[in-house]
């Protein structure tokens, strides 16, 4: 088994390699001298310009001469909204504008980058795919993202145990970056369930999968509880957020209200290890009460 940090690094490295291959993240130093005018080459210095995202938006303050500085800073402590950002004429200050763009870039990369196959393999997942054949189709056809392709159905039927108490499954959903939570949350759920004497078998993975894909997995495996870990639609600068969807004997005929959700799982929200323990207790409750979603008393 890989150590947790190694896996995280692998996800990050694989994602950034992919980006570099697409030419999106290639950073190359400008070549000295060539474009400089009037014969005087600009000397290239060592070192980095400051990271515009290093200071959190909560601490970023640009108003040069406020009527009440202390009061303004207190206002900033009451919200994560981007206030106290100042302006260039009526437009945005350069630094807050670049910070915003960096945060949006994080969200966009989380959505539009695929989870590397190597990551799926490294986790020992049973890899499958929805009926979607591309990211574009995934984004525009939620109906297809809820269904497994025929090959995956056969593979899951072949390789996953029948009638398990609990099946944990993973889908990329709307954030590939959310996969960084997997090495923390999966062991935490397993450990919690072990405390109740419940073992968990192989973990199916659905590429281009929506929440509804858990219904077909439930049908194929006949598991009492299916727990789906899936990437959430990213917010600005929160590309790593994951949700856990839980349902008792899910199938496509159940209403959406049959699902229980634990959302906002990431380092800046509910930490994945902590969320994993919480998810395990909910799974136990679902097993005991034989219901989930709005019918479950939490």
């Amino acid at each position: 088994m890989y150590q947790e940090n190694e896996v995280k690094d692998m996800v990050r490295a694989a994602l950034s390699e992919l980006l570099a291959a697409q030419g999106a993240a290639a950073v190359s130093p400008s070549r000295p001298g060539q474009a400089a005018g009037r014969g005087s080459a600009t000397a290239v210095e060592e070192g980095f310009v400051p990271d515009v995202t290093a200071v959190s938006t909560k601490d970023e303050f640009h108003v040069p001469d406020p009527a009440n500085r202390e009061g303004y800073l207190a206002m900033k402590r009451s919200t994560v909204g981007r206030i106290g950002v100042w302006r260039a004429g009526p437009r945005y200050n350069t630094w807050s504008m670049l910070h915003f763009r960096a945060d949006h870039a994080t969200a966009q990369d989380a959505v539009f980058t695929d989870v590397p196959d190597e990551f799926v393999a490294s986790q020992g997942f049973v890899a499958g795919q929805s009926l979607c054949t591309s990211k574009d189709e995934f984004l525009t056809r939620p109906d297809l993202g809820r269904q497994l392709d025929e090959e995956t159905k056969a593979k899951f039927a072949r390789e996953l145990p029948k009638g398990a108490k609990v099946t944990i499954m993973v889908a990329d959903g709307l954030s590939s970056a959310a996969m960084v939570n997997i090495p923390d949350i999966v062991p935490a759920i397993k450990q919690g369930l072990k405390g109740y004497g419940i073992d968990v078998g192989p973990i199916p993975y659905v590429k281009y999968g929506r929440v509804g894909s858990m219904d077909e997995v439930g049908q194929i495996t006949g598991s009492d509880v299916v727990c789906l870990l899936i990437g959430e639609r990213p917010g600005l600068a929160t590309g790593e957020s994951m949700s856990a969807y839980l349902a008792y004997q899910p199938n496509p005929d159940r209403p959406e209200s049959w699902r229980t959700v634990v959302s906002n799982i990431y380092a800046g929200g509910t930490a994945p290890a902590e969320a994993g323990a919480h998810v395990a207790t909910i799974i136990k409750k679902i097993l005991d009460e034989r219901v989930s979603g709005v019918d479950l008393s939490l």
Partner: protein
């Protein structure tokens, strides 16, 4: 009425008016998801040709949801002025398009025309318009409305100040309120989307807004965008609300998904007439957005543009102060990318104005759509050029509660400068009196953008 045409040597036949309307629509991922879009670019043009040859009465007499089955259809049909309709019912849709674009058309002509149209006719002519047509047509259809101040006057451009907070923290909300007013935002309305939709929460925030507005003598409107029934309860109990808000859909079924009926909206309007804090007469605020009917399976097989137009037909019954489409919020399965969002924003603004309602737009995008802040600045600029009554204003375009991005506080003054517009007149005077801009020159002072001026 003919449902067939030849185009480029190929024959095209359509099932009915609803099919023609759907296939004549510009490409939208939502219509593809619904399985009703044209299957080729040529079929799309063929549908436009068939539509252009239809008479206004053909389109009116074939509502996309039957009169007997749907209260939205009944409201739209019953509110038509039959005399005005009689004057135009035998025009082709092409003639209607050219009537609107004719440079002899005045705002009064447009107002009169709007009373003879059903939403299907509004949507139909929209499908024959290019983007620039939509802008020019909308600009002629001036619609003003009065609550405490007047929105929509030519030469003005307003914003809604949207100070959302992930936990409704009063200090956090107020911080964004101060920042917004310091940037000259909020002349259309100060309106919060609450996380906590409870009566106590709505009441608390309305009182906070009311006190702040009174303390600084800000000429504007206040509103908390909870469910209509919660706001009504709050107003009944004495909460100070200038407007009552509700999201609406273009079919009865769609409104049921929002938990509203036309009667509820009428009751809300009546309540505001007797217990609201505002001058009126326009006291309602509605939000809409292409695709919402499909997402609740309430579209009756019709396309998202015609369903959106029907929202406006419903809204008009209640003489709203504000209506805005939330154009990029729904996701790429309905509006695929910035091109489709831009088109939808221009369509919705045009259709709203042609319907005769005070139209604004939340030009926005989520993080799983191929759009960014540049695209939304483009759309905002096109909308202001087209005479749009208002857009949103939020801190740096980042909504930390609804988790999407739209136009920021900075856009309000940028767009006013770009187009030589002012804020709503009373609010403009307040900006001068508060020392945010200089009288006459409108030059920004060093107080402009400094929220801490409101801390005393």
């Amino acid at each position: 009425m003919k449902l067939k045409t030849n185009l480029l040597g190929k024959a095209y036949a359509f099932r009915d008016v609803k099919d023609v309307l759907a296939k004549a629509n510009e490409l939208k991922s939502g219509d593809q998801l619904a399985g009703i879009a044209a299957e080729s670019a040529q079929e799309r043009v063929a549908a436009k040709v068939v539509l252009a040859n239809m008479l206004v009465c053909d389109v009116r007499n074939n509502p996309v949801v039957p009169y007997e089955d749907d209260e939205v259809t009944r409201i739209i049909q019953d509110d038509v002025n039959e005399r005005i309709y009689d004057e135009i019912k035998n025009w082709t849709m092409a003639e209607l398009r050219e009537y609107i674009l004719d440079d002899a058309r005045t705002a009064a002509d447009m107002q009169r025309l709007s009373r003879g149209l059903t939403s299907e006719v509004v949507a139909g002519v929209c499908k024959l318009m290019s983007n620039l047509d939509l802008m020019l047509g909308a600009k002629k259809a001036v619609v003003t409305a009065h609550c405490n101040t007047t929105v929509g006057l030519p030469g003005t451009f307003a914003t809604r100040l949207q100070p959302n907070h992930p936990t409704d923290d009063p200090d956090g909300i107020l911080a964004s309120v101060m920042e917004g007013f310091a940037y000259g935002c909020g002349d259309a309305v100060l309106g919060l989307n609450p996380v906590d939709d409870s009566l106590a929460s709505v009441d608390r925030i309305l009182r906070m807004f009311h006190d702040f507005r009174n303390k600084w003598s800000i000429p504007t409107q206040i509103c908390v965008l909870a469910h209509v029934t919660t706001q009504m309860e709050a107003v009944e109990k004495g909460a100070p609300s200038d407007l009552i808000f509700q999201s609406i859909a273009g079919s009865q079924l769609g409104n049921e998904a929002f938990g509203v009926t036309a009667q509820m909206l009428q009751d809300a309007k009546d309540l505001m007439a007797s217990k609201g804090t505002s001058t009126g007469p326009n006291v309602m605020y509605f939000e809409t957005g292409q695709g919402s009917e499909l997402s609740s399976n309430a579209h009756h097989g019709a396309d998202q543009v015609v369903m959106e137009a029907r929202c406006y037909g419903l809204a008009k019954r209640f003489s709203p102060f504000l209506v805005n489409t939330v154009v990029g919020f729904i996701g790429p399965e309905y509006l695929y990318d910035s091109k489709q969002v831009t088109r939808a924003g221009l369509e919705d603004h045009f259709m709203g104005k042609l319907t005769g309602i005070s139209m604004g737009c939340d030009a926005c995008y989520t993080n799983h759509i191929k759009a960014d802040q540049n695209d939304i600045e483009n759309l905002a600029a096109l909308l202001v050029a087209a005479g749009c009554n208002y857009v949103m204003g939020i801190p740096h375009g980042d909504d930390i509660m609804l988790m999407y991005q739209c136009t920021g506080y900075h856009e309000a003054e940028s767009l006013r400068q770009l187009y030589g517009k002012t804020a709503i007149p009373e609010f403009e005077d307040w900006m001068v009196a508060t020392g945010l801009i200089e009288a006459g020159t409108r030059k920004l002072t060093k107080r402009f953008g400094d929220a801490s001026i409101f801390l005393s």
